[in-house]
């Protein structure tokens, strides 16, 4: 038997509101989601909650790369999280939730996790 899970999408903002290499926070079903624009069509979304500080701030981190892998560095203690997997580079076993994100007709949409 195959169970298919319907993913719901929430529009959060125009793509033009998020410059390349930056992030914004959005409220999606009461959850705080950090949406990142890397470059071109590359978008990622993680939970906004930084497990290393306990503050909801990941969207305000600096976006760049570590060895070519896109990462965001939390603004509080500078721990880095991979944008594709949510994995923390500084602490083994620590990670944050990954959300799906897409751009439709110039609008950024976040999918249920």
């Amino acid at each position: 038997m195959t169970v298919s899970i319907e993913r719901t999408w929430t529009a959060v903002c125009p793509a033009s509101a998020v410059p390349e290499f930056s992030g914004v926070a959005a409220l999606v079903d009461g959850e705080q989601v950090a949406v990142f624009h890397v470059d071109g069509d590359n978008w990622h979304a993680l939970s906004n909650w930084d497990p290393c500080s306990g503050a909801a701030v990941l969207s305000r981190g600096i976006v760049g790369d570590a060895g070519g892998v896109p990462v965001v560095a939390s603004p509080v203690y500078k721990d880095r999280f991979e944008l594709t997997t949510g994995r923390c580079l500084e602490h083994e076993g620590v990670s944050v939730a990954v959300y799906s994100v897409r751009v439709r007709s110039g609008v950024v949409e976040v999918g249920s996790p």
Binding site: T10, C13, P19, D39, W49, P51, A56, D65, V76, H91
Partner: protein, 834 residues
């Protein structure tokens, strides 16, 4: 293929596996490791540091899970329970049986718990594994009344480490030692007496020369009675009374054991059965057991060589130790107790500085045999390396406070001198790694030679060796730029590039990171490239700069308006007070003579700043690597001793340099007379009034490594003073490293303060005109960053918590009240502790 079975996976077993894998190029051995503990081998030597993070990952030994190595099988959490030597098999607790061609016992030691009545009570612990510490932590954090206390039985190395861990957990520790002094094995009487005094100053109560007779339960607490009649009422007890080798498997399978326990082995670590070896703390090599890791590593190397076709025998081990206990240095090396026939002792006991140093030398006073250092062990590595060698100076001279052994320097050591005793690495081996194998950093030396990877005490020597070999340590900014910050500054200045994208495309790789982006943003700002949030620059800034406010632990921000020189009118005080009341902010006078308003959400920042800017305030740059404050004392206007108007000068300086972006923050102070009430000498540049003008001091700071500023100019007039400070700051901004304050910048400069004076006072490089012009440009170009935001709707739009719900504040931020003001409530408990 043959099977090597290793019983136990501690530090020594791990070293064995690594050494066999490295030497077994022919692929002769398959290795099965059977481990009792639930996790791969970790750094037990550093166990006490677990208390800092409570993160087992921080103790991990690199590669100890053998991921990706098919020749090694690691079975965790399943202890070996028996050995059948006839069948050549071992069986584990879970009933798993494994045959072997060679068996290595590496089962370590167990803590020795003397038969004190009450030793089985709840609340009584030992100190050897991560699980032991977790259990102690749980007991220590159970709610109770008042400050919690603990007793450590045993005042040796481990007992004192346990006391440190307990103190770091917030308990008041008592240490009970049977011998008449602490660390009886390592230090002598003189050292022990000083150690006791230093440790006692650190809120650890020491009881020596007494036993523990009984421990009794007393409600939820424990009551311990000591042999000398003392009764201790404590929350928990930790036994740290030595260790005993875990030789049960050997005993039960009929192998010979040593006189005082331990699996008896020869100098090649072979037991009485040629297929069975023993290494590490469980082994008695020629009937001697070792309780530290270095001899264990040597045994692992010996067995690895034997199994892979080489041969080696156990070298005479170095049992030197150095540790830093609660900030107290203790070291002993070589023949510390002068056991050698005819040995002489030379000791210096300095009660004033709290140091005790003893050297043990041969009867002719020419050769070093060993020694003890307490209170200050800076010379440990050099002295230890000199053991068995002719002394470079009289023993007395080596112990003299200034010019002591530290000044002998690494150059003076012979090639055979051991630099890293944990891993047995000599100076010669390190020099070869540097000069022939291209190791140009401490990291590479560690990877290449293993030096510095265990206790870490030799790392400073590695740096010195690199310097002595003329290797420049890399100053590369980060993985994206090979250049140093100073080089980047020159590149950007010369090419006049104005965006990070251009800079990284032409001079870097990848897309940048949280290190290079703010560094380049700062350089662009220093060179005057418009508002720091203009265009692409906004994506380069740290969050503090991005929101022109300081982030706090709960994600809220603080607001610090500039109050030049700390002088403020009552009317302006009223404005700050009213803003704080209206927005519900916590207020505090900072250490920089101004007022900080805490607890603003991102959405509130523009509204708060609109009110402040309208009342004539401007950004205080508390968030930026920039000029912070110029503190002042009241000076000659009011003070009966003042000789110049320190307030007026402080205000002038603060307004002149405000907004100047720099490698690190810059602080200043101006005092009206030599009494120095503004603490100017603890600042990057400080000014002190004299009868005839001003004295200028540079290169001071507070912080973690406090330093007094040094005199650069004396008795100069205001114009000369300001011109010199202009040049000082511009030269610093151009040539310092990222996050390097002025003190280390001057220290690293070749020629130091004299060179600095030559450049900015005598213009020895001919750049002063340029520096003057750059500062003039900065002063002219200054505009208030907050006003710039308030005037620009696009920049303002970024100040919202949620892009799809402007005006909704972050719901995870909440506050409670303390001393009649609001303070943050911590919501999500961090998963990772620091």
């Amino acid at each position: 293929m043959r099977t090597l079975v290793v019983a136990g996976h501690g530090m020594v077993a791990h070293r064995l596996v690594e050494a066999v894998r490295a030497a077994d190029t022919a692929g002769r051995w398959r290795i099965v490791v059977l481990a009792e503990e639930p996790r791969p081998a970790y750094d037990r030597v550093a166990l006490t540091s677990y208390v800092d993070t409570w993160d087992p990952a921080a103790l991990a030994l690199p590669g100890s899970d053998y991921a990706g190595d098919d020749a090694v099988e690691l079975r965790l959490g399943d202890a070996v329970t028996s050995v059948d030597r006839a069948a050549k098999t071992v069986t584990t607790a879970s009933g798993y049986t494994q045959s072997y061609d060679a068996l290595v016992l590496a089962t370590g030691s167990r803590p020795f718990v003397p038969p004190v009545p009450g030793r089985d009570l709840p609340g009584v612990f030992v100190y050897r594994t991560i699980e032991d510490l977790d259990a102690i932590r749980e007991a220590a954090s159970r709610p109770g009344r008042g400050r919690r206390s603990a007793m450590v039985i045993g005042g040796g190395l481990l007992g004192l480490e346990a006391a440190k861990a307990l103190r770091d957990m917030g308990l008041s520790p008592h240490v009970v030692e049977m011998a008449p002094r602490l660390m009886p094995l390592q230090v002598d009487e003189g050292g022990g007496a000083l150690l006791r005094r230093l440790i006692a100053q650190l809120d650890v109560t020491v009881h020596t020369g007494t036993s523990t007779d009984v421990i009794e339960a007393d409600g939820s607490r424990l009551l311990a009675r000591l042999g000398n009649g003392t009764e201790l009422d404590v929350d928990l007890v930790v036994f740290s009374a030595g260790v005993r080798p875990r030789d049960d498997l050997a005993r039960e399978s009929g192998l010979e054991v040593g006189g005082r326990g331990g699996v008896l082995v020869d100098s090649a670590c072979r037991t009485s059965d040629p297929a069975v070896y023993a290494i590490g703390e469980c082994a008695a090599v020629e009937d001697r057991v070792y309780g530290i890791v270095a001899p264990g590593y040597a045994m692992a190397e010996v067995v690895a060589a034997g199994l892979t076709g080489g041969s080696a025998t156990f070298p005479l081990p170095d049992t030197s130790t150095k540790l830093k206990l609660m900030g107290v240095d203790v070291a002993s090396f070589g023949d510390a107790h002068a056991a050698t026939e005819g040995a002489l002792e030379v000791a210096v006991n300095d009660a004033v500085t709290g140091t005790y140093k003893k050297l043990v030398v041969t009867d002719d006073g020419k050769t070093l045999l060993g020694g003890v250092l307490v209170g200050d062990a800076a010379e440990y590595n050099t002295l230890r390396a000199l053991v068995g060698r002719p002394l470079p100076a009289e023993p007395g001279a080596l112990l003299a406070p200034a010019g002591g052994a530290a000044s002998v320097g690494v150059e003076a050591l012979p090639d055979e001198a051991q630099i890293c005793s944990c891993n047995g690495v000599s100076k010669g081996a390190l020099t070869r790694a540097i000069t022939s194998d291209g190791c140009d950093s401490v990291g590479k030396l560690k990877a290449c030679t293993r030096a510095g990877t265990s206790c870490g005490s030799c790392v400073p020597m590695l740096t010195k060796l690199l310097n002595a070999c003329g290797v420049e340590q890399s100053k590369a900014l980060c993985e994206h730029f090979g250049q140093s910050r100073a080089e980047m500054f020159e590149i950007i200045r010369a090419t006049r590039m104005t965006t990070f994208s251009e800079v990284i495309t032409r001079y870097g790789t990848g897309t940048g990171c949280a290190v290079c982006k703010p560094a380049v943003a700062s350089i662009l700002a220093t060179l005057g490239n418009g508002h720091i949030l203009g265009g692409e620059q906004v994506t380069l800034q740290d969050t503090n700069d991005k929101f022109l406010a300081n982030i706090q632990r709960n994600g809220s921000y603080s607001v610090v308006p500039r109050i030049p020189g700390g002088e403020i009118t009552p009317e302006k005080l009223l404005v700050i007070a009213q803003v704080a009341v209206d927005f519900g902010l916590y207020t505090k006078i900072t250490g920089g003579q101004r007022i900080d308003l805490f607890g603003a959400t991102v959405d509130q920042l523009p509204e708060i700043w609109r009110r402040l800017v309208d009342a004539g305030f401007e950004s205080g740059h508390a968030y930026g690597k920039a000029l912070r404050t110029v503190k002042s004392c009241v000076g000659s206007t009011w003070c009966r001793y003042g000789v110049q108007d320190s307030v007026a000068l402080a205000i002038e300086l603060e307004l002149r340099y405000r907004g100047l972006r720099s490698p690190h923050k810059i602080k200043s102070g101006v005092s009206g007379c030599a009494r120095e009430c503004a603490e100017a000498r603890s600042k990057d540049f400080g000014v002190i009034a004299t009868e005839h003008g001003w004295n200028l001091y540079v290169g001071g700071n507070g912080g973690a490594t406090p330093r007094h500023a040094e005199l650069l100019l004396s008795d100069v007039d205001t114009e000369t003073l300001i011109r010199t400070i202009d040049r000082f700051l511009m030269f610093y901004v151009r040539t310092a490293d990222r996050l390097q304050r002025t003190a280390p910048w001057i220290e690293e400069m070749e020629g130091g303060l004299d060179h600095l004076r030559a450049v900015i006072v005598d213009d020895s490089l001919g750049i002063c005109e340029d520096l003057d012009a750059a500062m003039a440009k900065h002063v002219e170009g200054y505009t208030d960053e907050w006003r710039g935001v308030l005037e620009d709707p696009e920049k303002l739009a970024r100040f919202s918590s949620f892009v799809n719900a402007p005006g909704t504040p972050d719901p995870s931020i909440s506050f409670r009240e303390e001393r009649a003001q609001k303070v943050p409530v911590m919501l999500g408990v961090p998963e990772v502790r620091r």
